[in-house]
Amino acid sequence: MALELPKGARYALIGPNGAGKTTLINLLTGMLAADSGTILLDGADITSLKPYQRVHRGLARTFQINTLFPRLTALESVTLAVLERDGHAHNWWRGLAAHRQAIDEAAGILRSLNIPDRETAELAYGQQRLLEIALALATRPRVLLLDEPGAGVPRDESAALFSAIESLSGELTILFIEHDMNVVFRFASRIIVMVGGRILLEGSPDEVGRDPRVREVYLGGHARAA
C-alpha cells in the first residue's frame, strides 16, 4: 500500500467494516508495529519511533471509542497534553499553578470547541467526542488522524462536530474515518477507499462517487444494507 497525504488536505478514509481502516491508523501512529515498509513525516523516517515520539514529531490521533481520563477534568486533561508537548510533565517540583501558560492554552482549546470544564466522566457524550479532538490538538499536530470522530453522535450534533473539524487550521493535514457518506462528501477534499486491507482507490469526491467499483463494493452494498 502506498499513501501520501499532502499538507493541509482533508482526507476521508472509507471502506466496509474490517477493511483495515483503524489498523492503518494504528500502524501510522506506531500503536501496531509494521512488519515492513516505511512511514515518512515531512520526509523524515518515523517508522522506528515509539508512539509518543511520533506525537512529538507532529502526528496525533483520536480514538473511535472514547479513550479519555474519566476522573480528570477536561481542563486537567488538555493541560496535561500541553505540558507533555512542551516537555514540562517531567517537572515534579514546581506546582501546576506555575505553568499558567499551559493552563491558559488548554482553556483556549476548550473554549474554541465549546467544551465545559467538568470532570470528563460527567461530560455529555458529544462533548467527550470533542475532548478526544481537543487532546489531539493540544499536541499541536501537523497531521491529525481522526478515527470515526462522529461515532455514536446523533446526526444533528455530528454536523456541528464536523464544522468544528472543518474550521481547524488550513496548515493541518487531516485524515478521518467516517461511515456517513453525507458527511464524507461534504467535508473531505479527497477520499481513500479501503477494501480488504488494500487501497482500492484514492481520488476527489467526484471521482470516487462516479467510480463503478466503489459503487459496487462499498456504496452499493452500504445502500442495500441501509
Partner: protein, 312 residues
C-alpha cells in the same frame, strides 16, 4: 485544577499528631511505629494510588533502607541524618534498577514480579548472615539520638524524629502530586492507553515514580532502624509488604492521607487487639478489610469524603 493550598482540616490533622506527647506519653514508641508505617504507606500510595502500580514487594525498599542505616550505624558512624540520606540513596538506586523491569508489566504479572523481587531480597539478606546477622537480625549498635536529643526509654525524641521525617516527606509527596508530573501520573492511572497518544513517555514517568517511592520507603526503614537500634529480617518480609497494602486500602489509596489514617487504625488496632488475644487479632483486621472493601471501595477516607459531599 485542584487547589494545592493547605486546607484547615489539614492543619488540625497535623496539630493532632502532636497529641501523643501530651495525652498518651506512655504510647510514644507505638506512635513512632505508626509514623514509620504511615511514611511507608505514603510511599506505596505514590505508585499505587497515583500511578496504578500494584506492588506486593514494597518491603524490599523499606528493608534496604533499614539495613543500610543499620550497617552504617554499626560499622561507620551513628549520626542518623546522614545515615538517613545514604539509606535513601541506596533504596533509590535499588528502586531505579528494578523499575526498568517492573514498569513494563501490569496486573497479575506486576504483582508477581514485585513479590518475587521482595522474596529474593529477603532470602538474600537471610543468607548473607555475616553482613546482616541473618535470622538474629542486625544488632550491636546504638544510635544515641538526633541533633542532640537523646533516644531514651520515654521515646520523646524518637517520636519527634519519626514525625518530623514523616511530615517533611509528606510535604514532598504533596508537592509531587500537585506538580505537572503528578498530573501525568494521574493520567497514567486513568488511562494508560491514551498517554502515549498525547506524547507522554509513560515508561519514563513510571520509572521515576517507582524510584521516588523507593526512596521514601527506604527513608521509612532507616527511621525504624534509628529509633529501635536494631534491624530484623521482618523489615524485608512478605508480611510487611502485605500489611502496608492492607493499610493503604483500608485508609484509601490515591489521597495521601489514606496511608496515614490506615496506619493509625491498623497499628492501634493491632496493639489493642493483640493485648486481648495475641493470636487472633488478624481476625479483626480481616473483618475490617472485608467490610471496607465491600462498603467503602475508596477506603475510609473515600467514604468520609462521600459523606461530606452528599448533603450538597
Amino acid at each position: 485544577m485542584e487547589n494545592a493550598r493547605f486546607r484547615p482540616l489539614e492543619y488540625v490533622f497535623w496539630a493532632c499528631t502532636l497529641l501523643p506527647f501530651l495525652v498518651t506519653p506512655s504510647y510514644l514508641s507505638l506512635a513512632s511505629q505508626v509514623a514509620v508505617t504511615a511514611l511507608f504507606a505514603l510511599s506505596l500510595d505514590l505508585i499505587l494510588g497515583y500511578a496504578g502500580i500494584v506492588s506486593l514487594g514494597h518491603a524490599a525498599f523499606f528493608g534496604m533502607g533499614a539495613y543500610t542505616a543499620g550497617l552504617i550505624a554499626k560499622h561507620y558512624w551513628t549520626e542518623p541524618l546522614s545515615g538517613l540520606l545514604v539509606a535513601a540513596v541506596s533504596a533509590g538506586v535499588l528502586g531505579y534498577l528494578l523499575s526498568h523491569i517492573v514498569v513494563r508489566f501490569r496486573h497479575l504479572a506486576l504483582i508477581m514480579l514485585t513479590m518475587g523481587f521482595g522474596l529474593l531480597l529477603a532470602e538474600a539478606a537471610n543468607s548473607a548472615s555475616a553482613l546482616t546477622g541473618g535470622a538474629d537480625g542486625l544488632q550491636g549498635f546504638h544510635v544515641p539520638g538526633v541533633l542532640g536529643f537523646k533516644f531514651d526509654m520515654f521515646g520523646r525524641a524518637a517520636y519527634a524524629y519519626a514525625l518530623a521525617v514523616l511530615f517533611l516527606c509528606f510535604l514532598v509527596a504533596r508537592r509531587i502530586i500537585h506538580s505537572p508530573f503528578g498530573l501525568a501520573l494521574r493520567g497514567i492511572r486513568e488511562n494508560a492507553t491514551r498517554m502515549p497518544a498525547i506524547g507522554a513517555p509513560t515508561l519514563a514517568h513510571l520509572r521515576k515514580a517507582y524510584t521516588i517511592a523507593a526512596v521514601i520507603a527506604g527513608i521509612a526503614g532507616a527511621v525504624l532502624t534509628h529509633t529501635t537500634s536494631t534491624v530484623s529480617l521482618e523489615t524485608l518480609s512478605f508480611g510487611r509488604s502485605a500489611d502496608v497494602l492492607v493499610i493503604l486500602i483500608l485508609g484509601g489509596a490515591g489521597r495521601l492521607y489514606g496511608g496515614i489514617i490506615g496506619a493509625i487504625i491498623y497499628m492501634v488496632a493491632r496493639d489493642q487487639f493483640s493485648g486481648v488475644n495475641p493470636q487472633y487479632w488478624y481476625f479483626w483486621i480481616g473483618l475490617l478489610l472485608v467490610a471496607v472493601v465491600m462498603f467503602l471501595p475508596n477506603g475510609i477516607l473515600g467514604g468520609l469524603r462521600a459523606l461530606r459531599k452528599k448533603p450538597q
